[in-house]
C-alpha cells in the first residue's frame, strides 16, 4: 500500500516532466495503434472474403478477359451454385480525387453471391429491373450526398465515354468491416453499349465470381473449372476469393513491411525518451533512495519504487493513447473514407498497444532501477548538499 502511494506521488512529483512523458507515450501508442490498424486494413479484403466464393480469371493475366460464353460452362460444373461476370470499370466521378472502386456486375448473381451487402427488397427489385441501375455503399452515398433515384455520371477510362447511372440501391454492410465505398452497376448496360461502340470488347468478362455449394470442396471445383478450359484460347486460373485478394496484397507487401517497421521504430524512440526521463528521475533521487536504505529498506524495495513508477507512467500514457486511438480512428474513417472503407481498431491492436506500453515502461526502467537498487548508501548520502 505504501509502495503504491509512494509510486503514485513520485510519478507526478515533477508535473511538467510527468505530463510531457505521459503525452509522449500516449502519442507514440496512439501512432502505433493507428499504424497497426492500417496494416490490418490492408488485409481486410482477405479477411472479409467468403469461403463459398471462387474467382476465375484469365490464366495469363488479370488484364486479359474471358469470353462470356464461359459463364454457362462454369455453372454446369458439379459443385458450382452460381456464376456471374464482373468487370473492373475504372470510372471517375467528376475528378480523380473522388476515387472509389466501381464494377460492372450481373445483378442477380451479385445479389445471390454477396449476402453481406444488405439491400431492401424494393432496392433489389429496382436494381434488377433498371438497366442503368446502380447499387452504392452507404459511406460512398454519404460522401457524395447521393440518394435513391439520383442520376450519377461516371467518366469511363477503360471504357471511354460518359456513363449515366441511376442509384437504385444503397447497401449497408452486414459486418462493420464490410466495404461500403463501392459502386456496382449492371454488366448488361456496359456490354450492350460496347456492342454498339466497340464490338470487339463486348461479351467479355474481366473475372467470374463463382459460388460453391461446399467450401471444403472449393479446391476441387477450382481445378474442375480450370480443367474445362485447358488448351482453350483463354485458359482460366481459378482460386478462392481469399487467395485472389492476397495476390493484390502481395503486390504492396513492401509498403506494409515499411509501415510495420515504422510502428516499431515509434515504440523504440519513446522507449529511449522514457528511459532518459527515468534515468534523470532516479539520479535526482539517489540520496532519497540511500536514505530509505539507511532506514532498513532493501534493494528490492527501491527497485520496486523505480520500476513501478516507470511502469505506471508508461501504462498511464498507454491508456491515454489507447483511448485516443478510437476517436482518431473514427475521424480517419469519416474524413478519409475514400481511402479507408473502414478504420476499425481491433481488440488485437488494443492488446498490442497495451503490451507496447508495458514494454516501454519495463525497458525504460532497467538501468535506473539497477542504479538505484545497487547504489551504496554512503555514496548516495554524499549527494546531499
Amino acid at each position: 500500500m505504501f509502495m503504491l502511494k509512494y509510486i503514485l506521488r513520485n510519478a507526478f512529483r515533477h508535473k511538467l516532466r510527468a505530463l510531457l512523458t505521459v503525452t509522449g507515450v500516449a502519442i507514440a501508442i496512439l501512432a502505433f495503434g493507428l499504424l497497426r490498424t492500417l496494416v490490418g486494413l490492408w488485409y481486410l479484403g482477405v479477411e472479409s472474403s467468403s469461403s463459398t466464393r471462387l474467382v476465375s480469371r484469365n490464366a495469363i493475366s488479370l488484364v486479359f478477359s474471358l469470353p462470356i460464353s464461359y459463364k454457362e460452362r462454369i455453372r454446369q460444373i458439379p459443385g458450382v451454385t452460381k456464376a456471374g461476370a464482373m468487370n473492373w470499370f475504372g470510372g471517375i466521378y467528376i475528378s480523380e480525387k473522388n476515387f472509389f472502386p466501381n464494377f460492372a456486375i450481373e445483378p442477380q448473381a451479385f445479389l445471390d453471391l454477396y449476402p453481406e451487402f444488405l439491400l431492401s427488397p424494393e432496392e433489389q427489385k429496382g436494381f434488377l429491373l433498371d438497366r442503368q441501375g446502380a447499387v452504392v455503399g452507404q459511406k460512398l452515398a454519404n460522401t457524395h450526398g447521393w440518394k435513391l433515384g439520383d442520376r450519377v455520371i461516371l467518366k469511363g477510362t477503360i471504357f471511354p465515354g460518359q456513363w449515366e447511372f441511376v442509384i437504385r440501391g444503397i447497401y449497408r454492410g452486414a459486418q462493420r468491416s464490410t466495404d461500403e465505398t463501392q459502386f456496382f452497376f449492371n454488366w448488361d448496360y456496359l456490354n450492350e453499349s460496347l456492342r454498339r461502340t466497340i464490338p470487339r470488347r463486348a461479351d467479355q468478362a474481366g473475372i467470374y465470381i463463382v459460388g460453391v455449394a461446399n467450401p471444403e470442396k472449393a479446391a476441387e471445383v477450382a481445378q474442375a473449372i480450370d480443367a474445362s478450359f485447358k488448351n482453350s484460347l483463354a485458359e482460366t486460373m481459378t482460386e478462392t476469393e481469399k487467395a485472389f485478394q492476397l495476390s493484390f496484397v502481395a503486390m504492396t507487401e513492401a509498403i506494409m513491411i515499411a509501415i510495420k517497421i515504422v510502428s516499431y521504430v515509434v515504440i523504440v524512440i519513446i522507449m529511449v525518451v522514457a528511459a532518459n526521463t527515468m534515468a534523470m528521475t532516479a539520479r535526482e533521487r539517489i540520496s532519497e533512495y540511500a536514505t530509505m536504505k539507511t532506514l532498513g529498506f532493501q534493494w528490492h524495495h527501491i527497485a520496486a519504487a523505480v520500476f513501478g513508477e516507470s511502469l505506471f507512467i508508461a501504462i498511464f500514457g498507454g491508456i491515454v493513447g489507447i483511448v485516443g486511438t478510437f476517436p482518431a480512428a473514427l475521424f480517419i474513417e469519416k474524413e478519409l473514407s475514400q481511402f479507408f472503407p473502414t478504420f476499425q481498431v481491433t481488440t488485437t491492436t488494443t492488446v498490442l498497444q497495451l503490451s507496447a506500453a508495458i514494454l516501454v515502461g519495463a525497458t525504460a526502467s532497467i538501468f535506473p532501477t539497477w542504479r538505484a537498487a545497487t547504489i551504496r548508501i554512503a555514496v548516495g548520502l554524499r549527494r546531499i548538499g
Partner: protein, 228 residues
Amino acid sequence: MAAGSEIVIIKNVTKSYRRGNQIVPVLEDISFTIQSGEFIALMGPSGSGKSTLLNLIAGIDKVDSGSIIIGGCEITTLSETELARWRAVNVGFVFQFYNLIPVLTAYENVELPLLLTRLSRRERRDHVEAALEMVNLADRMDHRPSQLSGGQQQRVAIARAIVTDPAILVADEPTGDLDRVSAGEILSLMDHLVQDFDKTIIMVTHDPRAAEKAHIIRHLEKGLLTDR
C-alpha cells in the same frame, strides 16, 4: 541495555577509499568504546574521517579491517541484507539536511521505519503520534516537508529516528543547516532523549556549541583519534 555498559565497541578499525589508482586512508586503527546512555560528539576538520566513522558505526559502510560490536552484535560480519534489518531495529538516523521524503507528510515520514516491522496500522499510528508528540509536532503531522521550517523538518527527522525505539541515535551535523534558535531546540531535544530515555547518541559536528551538549567529545584528525 543497562546504562553504563559498553554499547559500542570499536576495535582496530581501518578504512580507506580508492580514488582512481590511489588508495586514500580515512581511518587508521581506531579503537574506543561508548557507554550506553552516553552523548558523544565526534569533532574534527573536514576530511578527518568523522562522518566515515559514524557511517561505520551505523552499519551503512564497511570496514577494511577491525571490528565493530554494537549491543553485543558484531556488525562487521553481517551481510548487506542482515545489516539492513539490523539498522531498521537498532539505529536511528538524523542527517544534516534532514533527508525527509518530500512526497510524504510528516506522519508518513515518521511511519517509514515502522513499515518494515510487523506492527498493525493502529499500532503504527500510536507509535508515530507518540514520536511526533515528543518532538512537539503533533499538529503538523499532515504537512509535507516543504511546508515546514528547517527546525521543524529536523524534529520530524528525530521523530523518525526514535519511532522504532532504537538504542542508538547517530546524527551527522544535525544542527549544521539550522539557525541558532532551531539548533538550540534540536540539541535540547537530543539531550532530553539521553537524559529521560537513556538513548545513546553519537553526533558528528563542527559546531563547538553543539559539542558542548555532549558528555564526551572525541577529536579526529587525519583518520586518527587525537584524544585517547
